[in-house]
Symmetry: C2
DNA sequence: CTGAAAGCGCTAACAT
DNA sequence: ATGTTAGCGCTTTCAG
């Protein structure tokens, strides 16, 4: 107990502390702490006295010290691949809202589709002692899962439903959703169908969608043509360029399944500028149902994903698990095909008529 | 996957601490700490021994305790109004990248255009002891500025350049940028010009753009018509609806300045669906230069804003200020008008010809 | 190059 | 209803 250096021990701006507030209001630090958290257990009189001092100094308690002492950080983390695609934005916004409501602060990490970067973000969030983590997809080094468990942090996977991965998941099923989209095209008589999706080596959601595409074709007796499958980044121009290449093919597709709306809009523009009429000459199905899908011409048929609901439920599940100290339960969400004007019967189709919007999942 | 609880003081999962690592590797906690931060001052031999134990336990140091002891949180915060508009997304992504690079973690706050919510976020971030803050716009309660100063946190304002607010600012000037857009229309002979922008009571950027619009018209001898001014939320449909109302006016506008591309796309669609041809019947200038601006038909003339550069520079400025313990310096960025195909001469215009892309700012 | 020891600012038993 | 006290897990002088 040295009496040397009172306020602001080492150096640095002498920001006010509980001790100072306690001294000035003539109570103990414990009482100040109580006023600031569970103010109902404190008498109205002392509460008012303390708050006056607090306000006078613009005192904000040191949350890190508080977290250290209480062993609860009141923080959760979310890691998404990009913030640029508004589909992640709406999910993240929902997460934020629910977490805030429950008294949690959210750390947002953007991995930019890099596994190394994601690992680094997870490490940082663990260091920041988040109580829970919302992750995108399930594919990551086993070591990372170990690290999360060893550090006692709960997590939930989003954007990829899988009932055999062993981790808690709150998501729709990319495989089922894509099958629905592809079957819509096949049902319209299309047999020659192209695919554009994200890079399946960096993105297990893209992988699911691609596998679903190939399997669904096969199950209808159609052999997927590798020359009609493109994996690209999520940019309008990438979708556009891939489409251009497909249209140049000696046997061009009569329909495209494009596993995200950004690339799909690019594809749609490319088709239109190439003089094709949609859906008379070529049909297009997207994925995500971004707001823009209704604002292109023709309006885009696409798969609607419950991104906000997913964010909300994932956060609720996570926080409930943290509070109850119980294992998290998985939830499968459903998607639906929104049939608009970018899909129609194939030329020379044997079967005719189009399906209406239909549900999948549970 | 059960957690065996080791020695844990009160309760809770016995997560490993420095003390345990120190014990197992036969060194002091000080040495473990050195290995984990400035490993170069430790002998290769002990370093290796310590790291072996660290890895075996998947040990992640308690960053909050570290921050408390070192009095540096290594965190900065950014508060944006929404994550849904990709113009903020690209800025935020740049902030993240630079901060990460410099060893800082970023807290992202979404205020949803609510001053109360923003105040709450600032309070939480202060509590989390961020070392710096990146804010959107300059309009907020004086008390908040006081609070930031009293708590010794540095901050920089973005998205609004103003050299008389007294705070450090890294931004372009909304007023100048808008004037450039409006003068483009006036230069094409338009005299009857409508405006759609965000709500100027919640958004000082929208206010600047609106004032600039009105002032620029007046300076060319045109009286702004209140019936041709709409303040709306940032949704396609809002832009569309406002446009519909303007087109119904007994004296409809021949040109629209729409102070963001989201509403502008909505406006463009509405005009097209109303049977107007763009730019023959009506000209449209947007603001932001979102990727979508090139993907609508006709391509949108709009103001390009340096959102990534702003994010990058704001972060660099902030971190430099934190490191040097020096006041932050303001930076004015420039914008440019990207002339595409949605603007053309007014019908019956006296003057003809259109201007090319031109710069503003510094 | 390494260790001992004193806190960082707060919370939560446990008392009163 | 309020005070006393013992840490939370780490970093950082200061010695050696």
């Amino acid at each position: 107990m040295g009496f040397k250096r009172l306020r602001s021990s080492r150096r640095g701006p002498g920001v006010i502390t509980v001790r100072e507030i306690a001294r000035e209001s003539g109570v103990s630090t414990a009482t100040v702490s109580r006023v600031l958290s569970r103010s109902e257990v404190v008498s109205e009189h002392t509460r008012a006295r303390v708050m006056a001092v607090v306000n006078r100094h613009h005192y904000v308690p040191h949350g890190l010290a508080g977290s250290l002492a209480s062993r609860r950080s009141r923080q959760i983390g979310i890691i998404i691949p990009t913030i640029a695609n508004s589909i992640y934005a709406s999910c993240t916004q929902a997460v934020n809202r629910v977490a805030q409501q429950a008294g949690y602060t959210v750390l947002v990490g953007i991995s930019e589709f890099s596994p190394e970067y994601e690992a680094e973000l997870i490490r940082r969030f663990l260091e920041r002692r988040v109580e829970g983590l919302i992750l995108t997809g399930v594919a990551r080094a086993h070591e990372l899962y170990q690290k999360m468990e060893h550090n006692g942090v709960r997590f939930v996977i989003t954007w990829k439903y899988s009932n055999d991965c062993g981790w808690p998941v709150v998501s729709f099923d990319n495989y089922k959703a894509s099958a629905m989209a592809v079957e819509h095209l096949i049902g319209l008589g299309h047999r020659r169908i192209g695919l554009i999706c994200g890079r399946s080596d960096l993105n297990d959601r893209a992988l699911d969608r691609r596998r679903s595409f190939e399997d669904t074709l096969r199950s209808h007796g159609i052999a997927p043509d590798p020359e009609l499958i493109f994996e690209r980044d999520f940019e309008f121009d990438e979708g556009r360029d891939a489409t251009r290449r497909m249209l140049r093919h000696k046997l061009p597709p009569t329909a495209l399944f494009i596993a995200n709306d950004i690339q799909a809009v690019g594809a749609l523009i490319e088709c239109r500028e190439s003089g094709l009429s949609i859906p008379a000459d070529i049909s297009i199905v997207g994925f995500d149902d971004l707001p823009i899908a209704q604002y292109v011409n023709p309006q885009l048929t696409t798969v609607r994903v419950p991104s906000e609901e997913m964010g909300r439920l994932a956060t609720e599940t996570l926080i409930a698990g943290i509070r109850r100290r119980a294992p998290l339960k998985s939830i499968e969400l459903s998607t639906s095909l929104i049939v608009r004007n970018s899909t129609g019967p194939a030329k020379n189709a044997r079967r005719r008529g189009s399906k209406r919007a239909q549900g999948s999942g549970k």
